[in-house]
């Protein structure tokens, strides 16, 4: 479980967070949605201890993120930020291998290599594992990054807009991989999403963030209502029953 109590942060003049009180249960996929500048990414970054808090506490699985040692947290929670641009020329396998760093400190053991292979297969990267990242398409690269954070084998995985810049096919594939990671590997995945329909279809819970606070938190069925979405996104939204579940129409 991830528990945020009275979390506050003045990020800059546009985004100020809090006070936020939130409990995200363990297991499944929790989608953070909300308008631009609502503070979704900031919240996620704070949970992942990449950004300090001004006030309040965040606990992940009982560990306080501000007081627990970073190297211990690295075995509990992993986070992938939105923009990943590396000048370093690494192969896919080398990149995924860095996910083992909290355990091996860089000296990869045979067991580590097996774990790396497992996650490379999990994300269908076997054919690409010796390619350099700069030789991959955006979708393939994104998969490699996700393989790296999964390879860290943490109970909690935080992803900031992993569908950014992905086309329809790659977005769906990515969400299916994450769905599988949550189901088969028992990971708790917190993900920032822009598309409410993706959040509804693949999320077990949706957390709507607005103006730095939690506007709504519930199951997709509870969140996917005309009034609620219209209010959160400040855009007229109608929800209909599509062939595969609820759909939000806002075009």
């Amino acid at each position: 479980m991830i528990t945020l109590s009275n979390v506050r942060k003045s990020y800059n003049s546009e985004v100020s967070i809090g006070p936020v009180d939130l409990q995200i249960p363990a297991g499944g996929i929790t989608a953070l949605v909300g308008p631009n500048g609502a503070g979704k990414s900031t919240l996620l970054t704070m949970i992942g201890r990449l950004l300090g808090l001004d006030e309040g506490t965040i606990e992940i699985g009982g560990y306080d993120v501000t007081t627990t040692k970073s190297k211990d947290l690295a075995k509990i929670v992993s986070i992938l930020r939105q923009e990943n641009h590396y000048v370093t020329r690494l192969t896919v396998r080398q990149l995924v291998g860095f996910g083992r760093f909290p355990y091996s400190k860089g000296r990869l053991t045979v067991a580590d290599e097996e774990v790396i292979s497992r996650y490379i297969d999990f994300l269908d990267l076997r054919a690409l594992e010796n390619r350099y990242l700069d030789q991959l398409s955006g979708g393939q690269r994104q998969r490699a990054y996700v393989a790296m954070v999964l390879c860290q084998e943490t109970d909690y995985v935080l992803l900031d807009e992993p569908l950014n810049n992905l086309d329809m096919r790659h977005s769906v594939q990515m969400m299916q991989h994450l769905h599988k990671a949550a189901r088969e590997l028992g990971r708790t995945i917190i993900i920032v999403l822009h598309d409410i329909n993706f959040a509804c279809h693949y999320g077990d819970r949706i957390c709507a963030v607005k103006d730095g606070r939690i506007a709504e938190f519930g199951t997709p069925e509870e969140i996917m209502t005309d009034d609620l979405l219209t209010r959160v996104f400040e855009t007229p939204v109608e929800c209909i029953n599509g062939p595969r579940g609820r759909l939000a129409c806002f075009y």
């Binding site: 992942g48 201890r49 990449l50 040692k69 970073s70 190297k71 211990d72 947290l73 690295a74 075995k75 992993s78 986070i79 992938l80 930020r81 990943n84 590396y86 000048v87 370093t88 020329r89 690494l90 192969t91 396998r93 080398q94 995924v96 291998g97 860095f98 996910g99 760093f101 909290p102 400190k105 860089g106 000296r107 990869l108 053991t109 045979v110 580590d112 290599e113 097996e114 790396i116 292979s117 594992e129 010796n130 350099y132 700069d134 954070v149 860290q152």
Partner: protein, 331 residues
């Protein structure tokens, strides 16, 4: 470095790459050949003259050892610096580190004119460390990661520091000495004066030991923190190692421009960026380029010598421009 990696019955090489293979052996043999040539090159007839043996021991061996140590150190410093700044166009001479080391050296000589070589070096190392930290802090403050702005900022910073040095040297009548130091040259490397260069061998060992951490730092603060590393500590450690290497080389040899820039880039083009398995290659190529340049510098206007920095500057500039154009094309 993965002892049991052969146990994996997979065609793919493991993520941790092997250090030694036949290619590296060929590289070592090639560099050894160049070094042999360096031992044999010179005006003095070391084999015919009566005191040939002595001359060989006093000048040729120290000079060749210095080529090895300085070449490896500067190439390695460039590599570490490129990882820490996440920028391919950075190295001690494009970030002002060398100029700071020169300023430190100058100040020590002004305040303590009779300073020993160790004292001079300490001054150069401290100044190089402070200067590199100034550069890193500036980069963090403005968060400029644009590949060309970073070296431009560094070169500007270096120019300012260099001007300060020139001004101080003018005031204290040391301009000529300053010019001699900055023109990197192995001419004055003699027995009894170069031994401190061995310190950079220790730096090389240290870089090798923390190679994985430096590579992770090269992926940025977020990734480093995510896998549980203290990013600021790695930056400090890396800067310290660069400062020691640059400081020592500046005091003993002088300015070796572009070496740290071109070597890691060439190695990366062929091998990617796994720091630990690349380090031997970076050291070898650094040694090879410096040795070739020094051989050219020694033979071009025989029996006189050109400072090696002149040759390196020309070759380095050409390669630098090539790398720039290549990146443009890719972008």
């Amino acid at each position: 470095m993965t002892p049991g990696s052969t146990a994996l019955a997979e065609p793919a090489p493991p993520a941790g790459r092997k250090l030694f293979n036949w290619k590296l052996l060929l590289g070592v043999i090639g560099v050894a050949g160049l070094l042999g040539l360096s031992l044999l090159t010179g005006v003095y007839d070391v084999f015919g003259a009566d005191d040939g043996d002595q001359m060989f021991a006093i000048t040729r061996i120290p000079r060749t050892v210095a080529l090895v140590l300085a070449g490896a150190a500067m190439a390695m410093s460039g590599l570490v610096m490129q990882l820490l700044t996440q920028n391919r166009f950075v190295e001690p001479t494009t970030t002002g580190t060398t100029e700071w080391a020169g300023l430190g050296l100058l100040l020590v000589l002004i305040v303590f004119p009779s300073a020993s070589i160790m004292e001079r070096m300490a001054g150069a190392i401290i100044a190089a460390f402070v200067g590199t930290m100034v550069f890193f802090l500036f980069l963090r403050r403005v968060s400029l990661r644009s590949s060309l702005i970073v070296p431009i900022v560094g070169i500007m910073l270096g120019a300012v520091v260099g001007s300060v040095s020139t001004f101080i040297a003018l005031q204290t009548d040391m301009l000529q000495s300053l010019g001699v130091w900055f023109a990197g040259s192995f001419t004055s490397v003699l027995r009894g004066q170069y031994e401190v260069l061995w310190i950079v061998a220790l730096v090389a060992v240290a870089v090798f030991l923390v190679a994985d951490r430096l590579t992770v730092a090269g992926l940025g603060e977020d990734i480093a923190t995510n896998v549980g590393l203290n990013y600021n500590r790695i930056i400090l450690l890396g800067t310290g190692l660069i400062a020691v290497a640059t400081g020592v080389v500046t005091v003993v040899v002088g300015n070796l421009p572009f070496l740290g820039l071109i070597v890691p880039n060439i190695v990366s083009m062929f091998r990617g960026d796994d720091l630990r398995s690349n380090l031997p290659w970076v050291c070898l190529l650094g040694i090879a380029i410096v040795t070739v340049c020094d051989l050219i510098a020694r033979t071009l206007i025989m029996p006189f010598e050109i400072p090696v920095s002149v040759i390196l500057g020309i070759i380095g500039a050409v390669v630098f421009i090539y790398l720039l154009l290549r990146q443009r094309r890719r972008a």
